[in-house]
């Protein structure tokens, strides 16, 4: 059991870079941006009151952010001279944009989101990516990227980075796909295939879906387990408002929690994993349905909605298995909620009753709530784009050598 290099002891208030004037200034710039994002439009005085700095200090920070094109003043036209009136500040909708991309089994998608969180450009292409090598898939994605960037630039936006959601495990370098079984990719560094000269982050689609839920969801708590599905079961864990990554970057693999320890063999090497009971293929098999090549979730949702008894029973049993696996997760993590997102959101009406029954039956006392994502399968793409925007808000790109 070896400690990680350069991290021999836990981080604490005593570790990390020293506090300097420069670091303090950067954190305060971020505070202004986040305050205006959360509560704007706001006057300088209101920002100062919210973050507990003097009005003069806030004005200096605000002026820097306006010069960098990150904040803007909304009317009324302010008179020249000192003593600005309470003119309202908002995040710029002409500033940096986050570019999000998604590689799905059935589609590719790219979008641009501005600092205010609005989607300003979007392109989707339906393609069958199962078993297709990375080169052509990423060439096609790069073409969509070019299209979206041109459109965003035409609207006065400057792309600040690219974040790509993939249906698989991604290493902690945030660029290497370790395993994406449904694409057939493994140990593939995506960076050489993607546009040069722009900060790049690759992450698991369930992780980006969970972040979208955290940032955009309606009343999503700070501690939750996010469950999604494409072919397998995806999962992600958010604790205290932060995505749990784990040592290798593989945390949140709810699909491989054992449900029946001597159940069927799973591709992961285990037996009786949740995916063997609640994954799309397992549900289709249980329902006696042939597995269509594409749009499996849509097919299942449609049949269930039309009252197909076998599909409904198969989904009920999948919900039971989800409830067993989530009982373990709830005991380990004590989250405030479980959120069903991604493609699972569409199946929620037939999964949730048995899932909730199982959770209630197995956990004493007040149990965490079960919610269904409003973002559904849009979550990963939006989460990717917003992750770039968040990075700008967290460390606003303001020239450091100002007068």
């Amino acid at each position: 059991m070896a400690a990680r290099p350069n991290e021999a002891r836990p981080p604490g208030p005593g570790s990390g870079p020293p506090d300097t004037q420069q670091g303090m200034r950067r954190r305060n710039l971020a505070r202004v941006m986040h305050t205006v994002r959360a509560e704007g439009p706001l006057s300088r005085a209101a920002v100062a009151a919210r973050i507990g700095l003097t009005r003069a200090a806030v004005s200096t920070l605000v002026d820097e952010l306006i010069r960098a094109g990150l904040l803007e003043e909304l009317g009324p036209d302010r008179p020249a001279g000192v003593g600005r009136p309470g003119s309202a500040l908002a995040l710029s909708d002409q500033g940096p944009a986050g570019i999000g991309a998604e590689i799905g089994v059935d589609h590719l998608a790219v979008c641009a989101v501005d600092l205010r969180g609005a989607v300003r450009a979007r392109a989707v292409r339906h393609t069958a990516n199962r078993g297709r090598p990375p080169g052509p898939v990423l060439a096609e994605l790069t073409a969509l990227f070019g299209q979206v960037v041109a459109e965003a630039e035409g609207r006065g936006l400057r792309p600040a980075g690219l974040a790509v959601a993939v249906p698989g495990l991604v290493a902690r370098d945030a660029r290497t796909v370790v395993r994406a079984p449904n694409l057939g990719w493994h140990d593939t560094d995506l960076a050489p295939f993607l546009p040069d000269g722009m900060p790049l982050t690759v992450d698991n689609e369930a992780n980006f879906g969970a972040l979208a839920e955290l940032w955009l969801g309606d009343g999503t708590p700070l501690d939750f387990v996010h469950v999604s599905a494409e072919i397998g079961i995806g999962g992600a864990v958010v604790l205290e408002g932060r995505l749990l990554r784990g040592t290798r970057g593989f945390a949140g693999e709810l699909g491989h929690v054992p449900v029946h320890p001597e159940g069927p063999r799973c591709a992961c090497g285990g037996r009786g994993c949740l995916e063997q009971y609640a994954g799309e293929e397992a549900v289709l098999r249980a329902a006696g349905e042939p597995a269509p090549d594409e749009n499996r979730v849509e097919v299942l949702a449609e049949r269930a909605a039309h009252g197909d008894r076998d599909v409904r029973l198969a989904l009920r049993d999948a919900g039971t298995a989800l409830g067993i696996a989530l009982t373990g997760a709830v005991n380990l993590l004590d989250p405030e909620a479980v959120v069903l997102g991604g493609a699972l959101a569409a199946l929620a009406p037939w999964l949730v009753p048995s899932l909730e029954r199982e959770l209630a039956r197995r956990t004493a006392g007040p149990v965490c709530s079960v919610a269904v994502s409003r973002l559904g399968s849009e979550g990963p793409l939006l989460g990717a784009a917003h992750s770039v925007v968040r990075a700008v808000l967290d460390d606003p790109p303001v020239a450091s050598g100002r007068a």
Copy 2:
């Protein structure tokens, strides 16, 4: 699904108190303390180099810490005047002390630990606390506390706080025992029973055991699952060097992860929980042994060491069940290691082989390591005392109005 009051959005670089000179000074004082703790004795120049501040800035901080009795200068006698030679700094062994206490089913214990981490006073009493009401148990604990404090004060130490480890779930207020089934306590606020006028923290024994492992263990990583046992199975999760608490403060309940979903009923309301296969009572039952009233783990370890075949088989099966539950935990958390601590450490020779076999069989790729705590059943008491010491290091009590 409601957001928690006053915490509507996730914390980020833009939230929290504003950066001020005063806050910066406090964080830099903590940096000096932690640097000297981790690498001392160190000269002022070495501290400055380690934390990246100027020698002059560090000298000011060090002088404050010396005046407050938190740091001391070891020889050689430094000459009067400016230009101090490289005289070495160490944490004071006459300064604040952390008082740790443990309420066990079979015993009560209190100890005092100085800033350097040395145990300077200790008192233990063997008492049968099962089913005994809080009043008399805590009166007895308070008597031990008085004894240890008097001894510590006699050695020039000043108690800085009391932390109490209990075998049960503790609310996030860090004083109320929600459920301690083996004591028979529930919804009991311990504060009124304990000495007044001293900062108090009550926490689960597995949590304090995990913190002791993090702080005192030999090469313990920053991400691990800690498994312990008294009567039931205790668990605690440390991620990125921080203890996971969860929404209600109940995170880490590995003992109630379902292992066989239709297995025997558990007191928690579930079925087939890990505790039903690997808890002390389950192991004793499986071994066909009558359950002794006290010291059950010692009895099991002794019989296994003497080659008792039934006990060994029962422990092997318990290890298998631990491996199944930990497979779920490893998939969810992706920790670097599993650490067997507390009373389980004594049973490790008979649990670990089947536990490791099960983990390896069920998880693809490099699996996290399994380690046995050297602290064993001392962990919770030491973790409690050290948690008080850590709080002093994290925010050194230095008068803020210095000249």
